[in-house]
């Protein structure tokens, strides 16, 4: 006791942890302050010497350049650099959102396919993942753009998608095909009850018969003729524009009613289930409402849109809607690349759900589908969603690779053209970085809240 008391006052001040911490922090602070001060000092000297603007007055000056894809009004003569910023930002958001949707759908599909009990399907999915995620995204973008889309023929020799129409199926071929398919299906059913090599043979033949039946039937029903007004050339993908008509309104209203109606129905069905236990075919009714109602209005009022088909005039198409090859390449590249990462996340998420969970739900009498819906998916989604949002952020950041293929995103328009024209490097880059930073921070903030709410309660 006394020993300790005697010693304590003798601790040299630089050995006191608090003081040491203070010294370290002060040192770091001084070094940082010096670095920042000298950077600012040098920057202002350098910028003055080179005549680089140091304020944001360029924001309201006329841009004087054109952008080939704008979601808002923009023209070289009348628009400002500030508007160019918004054009770029909106283009970034557009390509990111569209790619995120495709990447998610594809990623979930491939992730589930990797877990398929079918060996070939699982291996094909694995091959996809291992190929795509081990190649630089830039290489993939350049491939899509320079090797696939740009070499397409010019507008005059466009690849034209034929009109697809369906003829009423003839009764005899239909019966024949149904018979062949039925035999195939019966063979696969029968295969389960017999032993020996015959099982495999019966299964293979059955599968072949079913596929053949479908192929033959389709070839009798589907007709390709004329031009659908969809063209693919080195200027992009051109397809008919939907033009509003008098009959558009009923269609739109039916669509809204369908969506709202199915939401209401789901709510009502839940109430009923709670009260009486009866289960309604919610998915079926929702499909019926969302697709059926608009279809009905189409039958009653006629086509909801006029199609303004693009036409070749001289060297280019007039009318119709065009998807730029730059947009298409960026979207393909981002979606396919990110899908390979999402697939791995989905796979890991599903594998993270203990096998005992499926067994327990089976043992309780839940069907496979119910077990998936009520037990496996809710647990897997908790594991999947945080890294999934991370991939969404990565995709958004990766959309800046647009600059390599000339898609007018934020970086290409703002940090590229605007920077070069105004020379305001510091301001422009700071704003660009701030945009991405805000997107990241807001997303992680939302995710933090989500994770706290969804975390499985443990002791």
């Amino acid at each position: 006791m006394s020993d300790i008391q005697m010693r304590q006052p003798h601790v040299p001040w630089w050995n006191e942890p608090k003081n040491r911490g203070f010294v370290y922090q002060s040192l770091l602070f001084i070094v940082l302050a010096f670095l920042i001060w000298s950077a600012v000092d040098n920057a202002s000297t350098n910028m003055r010497a080179r005549g680089i603007p140091t304020d944001f007055s360029f924001w309201n000056r006329t841009a004087g350049f054109d952008v080939n894809l704008t979601l808002i009004e923009f023209s070289a003569a009348a628009s400002t650099y500030g508007q160019a910023f918004w054009v770029g930002l909106l283009n970034t958001l557009m390509v990111s959102v569209v790619s995120i949707i495709f990447a998610t759908i594809l990623g979930f599909g491939i992730g589930i396919a990797r877990l398929s009990s079918n060996w070939i399907v699982a291996k094909l999915a694995t091959a996809y993942v291992e190929t795509l995620r081990n190649l630089p995204l830039l290489l993939q973008l350049l491939f899509w753009y320079n090797a696939v889309l740009k070499p397409l023929p010019g507008p005059r020799d466009s690849v034209s998608v034929p009109n697809i129409s369906f003829v009423t199926p003839d009764i005899v071929p239909t019966i024949v095909c149904a018979f062949i398919g039925g035999v195939g299906y019966a063979a696969t059913r029968y295969a389960r009850t017999i032993g020996g090599v015959a099982v495999i043979v019966a299964n293979a033949i059955g599968a072949l018969l079913m596929l053949t039946a479908v192929a033959i039937w389709l070839s009798g029903v589907v007709r390709f003729s004329g031009k659908a007004g969809i063209y693919l050339n080195n200027r992009g993908l051109i397809f008919p524009e939907f033009v509003e008509t008098a009959d558009t309104w009923p269609f739109a209203i039916a669509l809204v009613v369908g969506i709202v109606g199915s939401l209401a129905f789901r709510h009502w069905a839940r109430g009923v289930q709670k009260e009486t236990g009866d289960q309604m075919p919610v998915a079926l009714v929702a499909m019926g409402l969302i697709f059926g109602l608009p279809l009905l209005t189409t039958l009653v009022f006629g086509a909801p849109f006029d199609l303004a088909r693009p036409e070749l005039r001289g060297f280019n198409f007039v009318g119709g809607t065009r998807i730029l090859p730059e947009f298409a390449a960026l979207m393909f590249g981002l979606s396919l690349y990110t899908a390979s990462f999402i697939a791995e996340i989905v796979r890991a998420g599903i594998l993270a759900v203990n096998k005992g969970q499926t067994e327990a739900s089976s043992a309780l009498g839940l069907t496979r589908a119910q077990g998936l819906k009520l037990v496996v998916v809710p647990q897997a989604m908790r594991v999947i969603i945080p890294p999934l949002t991370n991939q969404f952020l990565n995709l958004t950041k990766n959309s800046s690779l647009a600059v390599f293929i000339g898609y007018p995103d934020l970086v290409q328009v703002f940090a590229g053209t605007v920077l070069n024209q105004t020379g305001a490097a510091v301001q422009v880059i700071a704003i660009t970085m701030a945009v991405y930073l805000v997107i990241s921070l807001v997303t992680s903030f939302v995710m933090d809240i989500y994770n706290k709410r969804m975390a499985l309660v443990e002791r």
Binding site: W119, T188, I200, L401, L419, Y436, S440
Partner: protein, 380 residues
């Protein structure tokens, strides 16, 4: 029911052991495998046949394009432009040196080779678990090698002719960017990770801000910043070399990601290790250097390898600030009018793809192997 009736039914003793019979043919060997994996349900059967048809549809054309119809030898692009010709490997052969070294003077390329071989040897020493003296290897790789490599590549007045960095290019530059990135980002990342877990509020604040800032923005903007803003931040006479700027950008970028990998390792360390070290009276830096970091870094080697793969793929972006990395040399070469033709772009990209894929796939396999090994070690 009478007791006797129950009694006669309930007692049972097996007198002789039942024979072990071979499994029915359908539950073993090839047949079981085919049934389980290819035809377990009608749907599965359809998928099998469908996938097989798909493979049969794609494979022959791919083979024809890449192998049998490919042009293997040609002095220029004429043969490759013939209709129906496949990949133009002659183009790759003709441009091979350019792909490897960029515009590095042809007579001096041995210097690049020596640097690469030296680096490779050191990396193998570091990565192959069985080889001894890792500490020495690390010192050689992280301290000695960069100096040697610098003078070998750049040259030394009077000894080796100077080769300016604007002539550097190709695979060599890709590897250089990746190597500098990893060599610089590891120590920086460790410092940042320690700082992020530090008790000192200002240090912690600075590290958090730096890490989150860098991770929140795309690499391209960091490269832009390094390229256009760095020269403004220093006195004019110090303007950094145009290859050095992206190297700084890439290193800082990689460091932020590395910091998160290292932090995961530190977080996974049991508290007892810290307490044990402190109980021994080790001061902070000694504790970190001798006890904590060796263990924490070992557990995150797979993560480090993974971020190296990401870094390697990201090196392609330095092209945006005018550096001739491998992919950029492919981009330049495919526009050469001597060769330009319909198959040249695809050929160039396929060649680049093979290079990047082999590299990244091998690395990811290596990281998976390590992960398994580490997991096995933990289980023991």
């Amino acid at each position: 029911m009478s007791d006797q009736a129950i009694g006669s039914r309930i007692a049972y003793v097996r007198r002789e052991a039942g024979p072990t019979r071979p499994a029915p043919i359908m539950t073993r060997g090839v047949f079981a495998w085919v049934r389980e994996n290819l035809f377990s349900t009608p749907m599965s059967g359809v998928l099998t046949i469908g996938s097989l048809l798909f493979v049969l549809w794609v494979a022959p054309d791919t083979f024809r394009y890449l192998i049998s119809d490919a042009v293997w030898q040609a002095p220029d692009g004429v043969a490759c432009r013939a209709p129906g010709a496949g990949a133009c490997w002659a183009f790759v052969a003709a441009k091979f040196e350019y792909f490897m070294y960029g515009s590095y003077p042809r007579g001096e390329t041995w210097r690049v080779d020596v640097t690469l071989v030296l680096g490779l040897a050191l990396i193998l020493w570091l990565l192959i678990p069985r080889l001894p003296r890792k500490g020495m290897a690390a010192f050689a790789f992280f301290v000695v090698y960069p100096v040697v490599a610098f003078f070998l590549l750049r040259g030394l007045e009077g000894v080796l002719p100077i080769v300016e960095t604007n002539l550097w290019g190709g695979v060599f530059v890709s590897l250089l960017v990746a190597a500098v990135g990893i060599v610089a980002s590891l120590p920086l990342g460790v410092l940042l990770a320690l700082g992020r877990r530090s008790q000192l509020p200002f240090v912690k604040f600075f590290c958090v801000v730096f890490i989150e800032f860098v991770r929140g923005v795309p690499l391209i903007t960091v490269l832009f910043m390094a390229n256009t803003m760095l020269p403004l931040f220093v006195p004019q006479e110090w303007t950094p070399d145009r290859l050095l700027r992206p190297l700084i950008g890439v290193s800082l970028f990689a460091a932020a990601y590395m910091a998160e990998v290292v932090r995961a390792g530190l977080q996974a360390m049991p508290k007892g290790q810290f307490e044990g070290a402190m109980a021994l009276g080790l001061p902070y830096w000694k504790m970190m250097r001798l006890i904590i970091l060796p263990q924490a870094l070992t557990t995150v080697i797979p993560g480090i390898v993974n971020s190296f793969i990401a870094l390697f793929k990201d090196t392609t972006l330095v092209a945006i600030v005018g550096i001739f990395d491998f992919l950029r040399t492919v981009e330049t070469a495919r526009l050469d009018p001597v060769w330009a033709g319909p198959t040249i772009s695809t050929t160039g990209y396929v060649f680049a793809a093979i290079f990047y894929w082999v590299f990244c796939f091998a690395m990811s396999r290596y990281s998976q192997m390590l992960e398994r090994k580490l997991a096995a070690g933990r289980r023991r």
